[in-house]
Symmetry: C2
Amino acid sequence: VTGQPARRIALVIEYDGARFGGSQRQKNAPTIQQELESALQRLTRVQTRIALAGRTDAGVHATGQVAAFSTSSRHGIEVFVRGLNALLPPEIAVLRALEVSAAFDPRRHASSRTYRYSIHNAPVRSPLRSKSTWHVVEPLDTDRMRRAARALLGEHDFAALSRREGISTVRRVLRCDIARQDDLITTEIEANAFLRHQVRRTVGALAQVGSGKLSVGGFRSLLRAAEPATAGPVAPAHGLCLIRVAYEGLDL
Amino acid sequence: VTGQPARRIALVIEYDGARFGGSQRQKNAPTIQQELESALQRLTRVQTRIALAGRTDAGVHATGQVAAFSTSSRHGIEVFVRGLNALLPPEIAVLRALEVSAAFDPRRHASSRTYRYSIHNAPVRSPLRSKSTWHVVEPLDTDRMRRAARALLGEHDFAALSRREGISTVRRVLRCDIARQDDLITTEIEANAFLRHQVRRTVGALAQVGSGKLSVGGFRSLLRAAEPATAGPVAPAHGLCLIRVAYEGLDL
């Protein structure tokens, strides 16, 4: 198939991150990127690099991760969905595929990412939810959490919710919605981009506000202090899910 | 602790049935009953028989299974919850415990059982829902399914939805609610009691109605024919969950 004009294809991907070492290719653990590249190579018989929109840590899930690759394969777009799903392990699935412009970069062109963090807030653990929620025994006051979360909105230096990495720690948080349904508390956070561990540290600190260990004012002060990683514990990876990556002028 | 009057304790139990051979004690597979009895023996140091309200098959889940046992242990009721949860494997948890009358029989005294069956109705499989839902690719018409489900209500011979077992196959279905939220279809069925595989055969047949393979009239005819196991396929076990067992005059 030499001589074919290269096509660029975007994929929307869902995965259960439990047994993976994260999204990005690495040496000592299976990753989402490796599994996708391996399935694509088996489908097209060409070794192909796949780029991912969001870097998710070991154990983090996704229902709306975006990937992209270039190929000279002439397969119809539906063949990529069905073919990859037949070749991928059960923990990963391609939900949709779309042909995009040759220059499409899923990471750099993303206008925002949305993560959902799920807390199971009950005295007793739940076997059916233990793999997708953080079990918090102390009753959490979601009204307090919501009041604190307002301080996250807008463009701020979020150094207090990450690690010092020699890069800018300024990000723009567009939305932070906290909802409770019985004993399930979900926090959805949308931002232009996130620092490493930002969502998990945000939820860790919000949970401290919810349980009364930290005041709403104390939460605000920690944020504004902008000292690296001062804002409380990191909520565990298995409660986190990348649910959407948005692009201007592209409806995935 | 000899000489103590025996107490009878009821437990409400949640479990992920994936790796178990069902609820009832058996020789060649781990079961819910064995795990509960083993944990209770370690807690009280006395070998104790535990009775379960509903017999769930291999792979079937529960959020509202009820168990009961007699004990001369003087542990407070909260010690049974915390102690058993510390000793049980992660797939099983005691949600609540309650002291009940000495004659309480969780199976014979139950006035009704409610099961929920979950279908993931979408073209592509979902890694995050594959363990708790049946993936059905063909679009299902839930209005048609609801019209067919009305024929289930009331006291009928449900032989067509079970196997001939030399016992009465008459049961009383109190409720069958079918709800869709995006690509998740849940069917909740409450009955005084259920025949073996009744819920899974009911959902299997309703899915055929939903996909158009079976007419609403055809579904009614199959039911009324009352021939054993004529009403289509058995929906897989992992989509099924026992969500409630009800007792008159006892609020668990």
